[in-house]
Amino acid sequence: MSGRALAERGLLAVFVVFLLTVPWSVPLLLNPFWVSVIAEILIWSLFAASANLLFGYVGLLSFGQALFFGFGMYGVGIGIDHFGLSFWPAFGLGIVAAMAMAFVSGILAVRLTWHYFAIITVVFSLIFYFIAVSAKSVTGGDDGINFALPPTFSFGTVQYSFADANFQYFFILAAVAICFLLMHLVVNSPLGKAFLAVRENDVRASLIGLNVYVIRLIAFVMAGFLAGVAGALFAFFGRYASASYMFYTFSGEAVVWAIVGGAGTLFGPVVGASLFIVIREVVSTHWEHHSLIVGVMAILVVILAPKGIVGLWRDWVDTPADSAEIPAAPELRTEP
């Protein structure tokens, strides 16, 4: 095993231990408020991971992931508020709604690539954003809908619900961890290799017998799944669903987080989302204009670390023997 792989395993182990002890260590070191910030970071990491799966692994730049986030969020919100569903069916409804939407829009969208794909994903998400904004009786429009959360598990008189902050944190952690594990498995499977083949050169991929269209569609639905789970978790977390989270600017943020962290790496989105949200939380308590810092940071990162933070780390610790691996950052060019 190379030095880098060892170091990364070590870092991962430290990270996992940290995440498992957050509800106790963080209030001790900082204050309890940060536990919910970390839960939020986990959700946004998953959202960024959905943009990363498309851009980093298949080479499709989606500016429409907020659409599937929104479907996940509204699946839960409408399921609980209008249909009176309990926790798990609402969760299921959110995920299924997001994946179904991803499938339907994907059938059309993945026929296009690069700029055209980026624009059509924006257009699709804008269409549903405007529908959500105008259908006030169902979605609550920009104000959104608030709802009371049913318990997650109940065994007789014992109930576990999101009202318990620790339960809420561990539920989110578990859900996000399962999604990242699934992504890890997919990326390292033959399907994952097919993703990379399509990303690197779709013509060659089709010449060796891969069905590029189907592979892109599968990736699109998977990304819809990730965004849908993130949206559903966010609805549980905030007891709230709002059309404003379906706007294209949110999709853009997911792309930015993924690229800043390191596109085409499993943990890049986590790094990117953490960086931006931690800065926002730290600066916003002292200074109203925290976006200024975030903007400057985004520019500095791409100038100083064009492969993202994870890419920078790998260049820094890599020995020549490591470089035989899959290239991390995709080289996308617009040249004909």
Binding site: I119, V122, V123, L126, Y248, G252, I299, V302, I303
Partner: protein, 286 residues
Amino acid sequence: MIDTLLLLSLNGLIWGLIIALIALGLSVIFGLLDIINIAHGDFFMVGTVLAWFSLQVTGNYWAGFLLVPLICFVLGAIMQRLVIQPIRGNPALSIVATFGLSLILQEVVRMTFGATPRRILPPIQGTMSLFGIQYDIYRLYAAGFSIAALAAFFLFLNYTKLGTWMRAVRHDRDTATAMGVPARLVYIMTFAVGFALAGFGGVVAAPITTVDFRGGVDLLPVCFIAVIVGGLGNLPGTAAAAVLLALLEGIVQSFANPTLARITSLLLMSAVLLLRPQGLFKGFAK
């Protein structure tokens, strides 16, 4: 009914001419620099805000028509040199960098101009009768200014040295450089011209719309759609697509509410993208 239709179509047409200006700026930056400029809507917004400041300072709105594009040009040149040049040639990074620019511009405007939207009174008030309806005179001036600016831009591109250089670098970067075209200067100028066009659009539009630090957010997708639907690299096509888009929205608005009009035009755009991804005008214009 006919009156409403006429009024909203005219509004749409004029708004489309303004969008055409902004979208052209986006298109030259996109075509020549490979930059997906997320901040372009904010360039327009900066134009409206600078128009407001120039009115406060000079007391004369018309001064803004000269001052604002100039300031935007300089700002654009500085931004290209500091932010865009280091990451040039990598569209993915350009998304992040211009996202950063967008945040910075919005936040600086919020700090200086404030978060409350404001209105600017048109420098020419009053209405005149046009095809049987009373129409704002300023809007007609706005249309005139937009058309003049569009014409000036195409003349600049086709008949000046810098314009020729810009077309040359866009066509074939390496050959142009080998022929002695200062490519680096051309990059800086292109970004600056793109910003100036959006800024000019801002001055023209400020009395029609509101001045708000988030004023560019809604505009950005519209401009991108115009660029793509008009055909990548087809500048007259971009302008035509922008006008058509806004006109269509205006017409639908006279039958339905604005949101529904928005959805209709977006649906139409998806159809164009899927059926004619090479752009609406391929085969008509070169």
